[in-house]
Each structure stands twice: as C-alpha cells, then as structure tokens.
Symmetry: C2
Subunit: 409 residues, 2 copies
C-alpha cells in the first residue's frame, strides 16, 4: 500500500568503517522512489531527532554521496541516547511536524530497541508510518542476522594487526598481547584467529569473554607457545577476566549507555605474563581504530552495509514495517548471501554470543566452524579511498527549519 | 681495491615496516658481486653475531627474497644489545673464523655506534674488512641523512590513523588524544599534521617533545579547537610532558638499552582534558603497529629502504668503509633523492630533533617548512602484500656450522 511523505534516517551507537555505506545505500534507493519526498538525516542520531536537527539529504551532491561509501564513521554524527517514554512522544511530534512517514535507524541492539519502541508508539497512534532498523555493529552480536555490517572490516583490521605485530614479536622473541574490542562477545577476537593462513600463524592464543580460563591455565598456554616458537601472540577481548577473579581493568567511568568503560586489559595481562614467564611482554590495544581504519575495508562488509541500507528503504516503501533488515547466508564457500528481514522485537535488546561449540575445549582458540563462518567476511579487501591524503569527502548537512519549540530532555 | 671474502648483515633495534626491504636490497646486490662469496645473516642481530648464529642468505629462495621486500619487521630477528669491549673482540673473532670481510648493520644511532666501534677495532687490527651502516628508524632522528627508512611508512600509518579517528571523534563530538612514538624527537608526531589535506583536518593540535607547553596553555588550545569544530584531535609524542611538570607516564621498567619504557600518555592526557573541559575524551596509543602495519606502506620509504641496502653492499665492494649510507634530497616537489654516504663517526650516537623553527611559536603545530620536508615521504602508497590473508613469506634461515667455542657474555 503506497505511503507518501518524508523520511528520516539516523546513525546510532559506535560508528563503523562502513556505516556510511548503509546511509549511501538508503539515499541512493530513495532517489528513485516517488513515495519519499524529502529525505532527512537526523544529526547525531536520536539527539538530532529529538532536537529537530535535521538535514536535507537530497540536497547533497550526488558525487559526494557516492564517495561517502568509503568514508568511515557516522557522517551524520552519532548518539548514545537511550530514549525514555517522553523522548518517544517527542519523536512522534517531530514526525508529525515534518510529515515523516518513514523512519530508519542504523545501530546495534540498543538502537534496534529504540527503533522498536518508536514502531510500537507509531502503531498505537493514528500516525501511519513505517519503521525499519538497519543493522550495524563491529561487535557482530545482533541476533537472527548472519553477521552485522561493520564487523567484517573491523575484523579485517584486527586480524591484519595480529599478523603484522606477530612479526614484530617474533623479531624480538617476546610475548605480545593484543586487546580487541568486545565486552561480552568475542566475535572480533575470534576473527583474528579465523584469518590465520596456517595453524602456527599469530595469534597463537585467543581468549573470548564467552569462556573464562584460570590464571594458571593461561600462563601455561602462553609458556607452551613461547617454548615452541620463541615468541607468542595472544589476542584478548577487552572484557577479559580470569575465571574466579574480578575484572581488573574496568574503569570507574561509564559511557552514555551506562556501561563501564573498558580498556587496559592487554597492558595488565602483559604485566601478569611478564612476571610469570620472565619473558618481556609488549601489548597493543587496537582501540577506536577498529571502527574507523578505512584503508583496509572488507569488500563483503562494504557490500552488505550498502545493501542493508538500500533494502531498508525499498522494503519500507513496499509496505514493510517494524523490521530490521538482516543478512541471510546462502552458502559458506563461495560465500553467498542476500538480504532478509526479521521483526524488530526479535532483535531489540538481544545479543548473540559466540556458541560454546565454536570455541575449543581449552578455551584458547576458535574451532573450524568459527573459521568457516568468519573468514569470508573479512578476506577480501575493498579499494582504498584515499591513498594520497586528499580531503576525505564530507556531507554538507543542509539543516532544515525547525517547526517545534525547543525540547528539554 | 678488490677485497674478496664473506659478508655478514644484521638488523638491530626496533623493526620497521621496510627494514626487510634494505636486507633484500643488500642480498640482491650481493648476488651479482664476485667479491662476496657467502652472505650470512646474523640471527637476532648482535646476539647472532656474538653467538655465531649465522644463516646462509644465498641459500634463500630468490622468490622469497623478492617477496620479503613487503614483509614488515626484522626477518632475521633483531637485538638491542649494546656491545661492550669484549663483545667487539668476540665479533672480530667471528669475522676471522668465517673469513668475513664485509659487515653491514641496519639500525638507528645506537646501532650505528656499535657499527663504528667495530669499524675502529677492525682498523686497528690486521684484519682487513669493510663496515657499512644502513640507516633505519621510525624515529627519523639520525643526523646527516635527509630521512630514515622506516619513518615514511610509520608516518603514513600514524597520519591515516589521525584522519580516520578524527571522523570517529567528530561523529561523537568528543576529544581524541592520539599517542605517537617518539621519546625525544617529534618527527612522527609532526608527520600526522604534515599529511593533513586542509588546515582544519585532524589532528588539530600536535605536541612534539622539542617544545613543552604548560598545562594551562594546552587546555586552552584544546578548548578553542573544540569550541570551533565541536570535536578535537590532539596528537602527542609518547615522551610528552607539560612544561614545569614531571613526565607522568614513564614506567619504572626499562628496555634493553636502559631507556625507561614509555606509553600511556594519551590516556593520562585524555583524563586531564576531560576533567578540565567537561568533554568526553577518548584516546588511542598507536603502539607497535607504527613499525609493522604493512598494509599502508609508503612507496618512497620502501624505495629508499631498498636503495640504502643495495648501495651499502655495492659501495663496500667498491672500497668504501666506515660509512653509513644516507638519503640526499635533490628536490622537494617533485621529491627527488639519491643515496649518499657519511662517516660513521658523524652519526654514531647522535640524534636530530625537529628544528625549533619547524614548530610554530605556540608549540602546538608544525610549520610549512616541516610540511614541505615531510609530506613527500608519506603520501604515496606501495602495493599491499597480502590483501587475501595468504601466508606471509618467511626466510628459511639455513644456519651454518659454528667454528668457535660458545660465548659467555
């Protein structure tokens, strides 16, 4: 059933290397669809929506839009606001004021929950609109979907880092601890192992938050690898903790979602290992670069990010609502996939850990099943945007006039 | 004057992305020269030399040798030994035992000093040999030479990181502090600014160890940038300290050269800035990846690394000794250079800071002169070795028989 009006799209949560590709997919789909008259970007996600900070995406230069596919991080700005009841009502006011009939929101499980709440509120009101979530997270922890756009490129970067830093550790004959993003799920950490070209390539040991090992076990694992190769590379999730011990590296500060800030586990674990083994231990925290280092983007990830953005718009206009677009795997090797959809309720606030059977019994590596799943997501490289340090493209963000009173949160 | 015999080459100090290219240049030059009968690699640099851990480089597969050009870190292993008097005498014994008439050593100022000491000892003995230093350091602090192989690629990586992480900070509207390697010299930190495509691109502020600023000044600099752009990226050298305050982030541990281990300044400074400005501050320490992330190698750097290795061997066979190969700049734009040489004594143990006039008066950015100097060293990208995660090539390291008693250091 045809629904004509305006659309809003927002980007939420931690940015990724390919989140703009989803936005570009959405914009380019909307260009050809009469049902979307104006396409607005919410500047800084939920913040922009609530404060009516909206920009006119159809006024962006089409060449810039195309080029933004390869630009990392959220080109509209992002937000970590968790909307409350009154925020949702405000959102509805904004939708009405700007004749918004389509809302697209790109994010992880917290953001899909926000999306779902908006969808529910819209359904219970007399304002007909369609709400579609676009998946995004380097953590790869959304349920239902085969994988999450953003993960493959982050995984590719993390895996390359482990390969390269392995040569550095080998040259010195040292231990090297690499800290990979991931609070409760070890997808990204496991990916560094999945990319190994042969079994003795680094990282030699990977510890995912899904399985805890004892201090004694880990030290013994590391000693064994070091005795065999004369060096050792260990990848750990930032949420790492020894079995039976408190997380040692949690900061007392919290982020905007109320999660404690993590980081520092590699340095801490390096010190533990150096003391236990007597071997010099170095460490690297891959940090924010995992979600923005665009020079080594995964081609599959880029393609999927674009596709979920494009599909979200097309399917919404076709009449679907209250869904998140998913990736459905058709075949492992060669990797084949297509877009699917699932109801927002199935994904909102849910998260998917690495299955126990995809982690080996010792809890220090992933299994072949994990490798089969993960490797196709990261092996191919997209072209690099900017080998010559010319300016990174940027949206102009033509802000439209507000129609409501300022919002006090 | 023709001198025929064997040769030893070693790699020393912190590895770089292109140090193997110098080794490959040396090997490939030696293939065609009758004067070098056997070419040995010292495994783990000075350690290997003293312990007679030598491998036969002419037995390496020529295809592997060629491929090693693009493999980061020291393929022969590295060492941070500072040789003492008795070590030098032992080295001479090894040279005599293996009929070594050529010694090549790839490293920074400490390593060139070791090289010089060996050269002096050889001169004062009856053992005719030629000693040539090959420059290498991501710190870019060797004197005389225009630049140091290893710097351009490290600088390219660091600059890319700042560009990308800038988009991440912009998306959130946060402060971002990036920690770049450099104890006493700010070449690498300055390079992140030199690569900026336009004046308002990140990093907005760079602090080099050559000029200290007060706490108040830095906070005011950052506040000003944040007020203008709504985010700010600040690059600091790991040796950063406020004027009039002690270095806050020095570890009580020391490295093999007796230098205190650095690191953590970005996190510390981020906390300082967050408290002072009330704006969330993130941080990234670029760490060991600066010297091994080979996916974004600088082409000029790769070419120069190869050339200094090749030239070292050619000029030694031509009769030169007690020199380090240098890069001589012929023209800034287009950048033109050729290899030159300087006596080891001029470079041994010396280091070159960024000239004060290449840093702006406020001490928070580099000047146009710095940009003119630096930009050509990092703008062009070499081809990537391994976009598909196939195995990284590796030397076979065919170890030769020892001829001396074991060495007790």
């Amino acid at each position: 059933m045809s629904l004509t009006g305006n659309a809003i799209i927002g980007q939420s949560g931690g940015p990724t290397i390919v989140i703009n590709a989803s936005l570009v997919g959405a914009i380019q789909a909307a260009w050809d669809l009469d049902e979307i008259q104006h396409f607005y970007g919410a500047i800084h996600g939920m913040d922009g929506l609530l404060n009516e900070q909206l920009c006119d995406l159809f006024r962006e230069d089409p060449d810039v839009v195309e080029a933004m596919k390869l630009v990392p991080s959220a080109g509209l700005g992002t937000s970590r606001i968790k909307p409350k009841e009154q925020d949702l009502e405000r959102a509805m006011e904004v939708f009405r004021a700007h004749d918004v009939r389509y809302f697209f929101y790109t994010g992880g499980d917290d953001s899909q929950l926000a999306c779902h709440m908006i969808s529910e509120l819209a359904k219970s009101s007399d304002w007909e609109m369609r709400v579609v979530g676009i998946p995004k997270t380097i953590d790869n922890n959304l349920v239902v979907t085969d994988c999450c756009p953003g993960f493959g490129s982050a995984a590719r970067y993390a895996a390359l880092c482990c390969q390269y830093v392995g040569r550095d550790a080998e040259a010195f004959g040292t231990l090297e601890v690499v800290e990979v993003m991931g609070r409760h799920e070890g997808w990204l950490t496991g990916a560094t192992s999945a990319a190994r070209p042969e079994p003795d390539a680094p990282p030699h040991l990977v510890y995912l938050p899904e399985v805890q090992v004892t201090r004694q076990q880990l030290i013994s694992d590391v000693q064994e690898v070091y005795d065999r190769y004369g060096f050792a590379v260990i990848a750990v999730s930032e949420g790492f903790a020894f079995a039976g011990e408190d997380q040692s590296t949690t900061s007392d500060k919290v982020d905007e979602f109320g999660h404690s800030r993590l980081g520092g586990v590699a340095q801490w674990l390096g010190d533990v290992l150096e003391e236990a083994t007597g071997v010099r231990a170095r460490n690297d925290k891959l940090g924010n670069l995992q979600r923005c280092f665009a020079a080594t983007t995964s081609q599959v990830d880029l393609d999927q990010a674009y596709a979920v953005g494009r599909t979200a718009v097309e399917w919404a206009v076709d009449g679907q609502t209250d869904i998140m677009i998913t990736i459905e795997r058709e075949n492992d090797d060669p990797y084949q996939w297509e877009c699917g959809a699932t109801s927002l309720m199935t994904v909102a606030g849910e998260s998917k850990a690495v299955p126990r059977e995809w982690i080996n019994e010792a809890g220090n590596d992933v299994t072949e099943e994990f490798v089969t799943y993960c490797k196709p997501l990261l092996v191919g490289r997209a072209c690099e945007l900017d080998p010559g340090f010319s300016s990174l493209p940027k949206f102009s963000l033509h802000v439209i006039e507000t129609k409501l009173d300022a919002y006090e949160r």
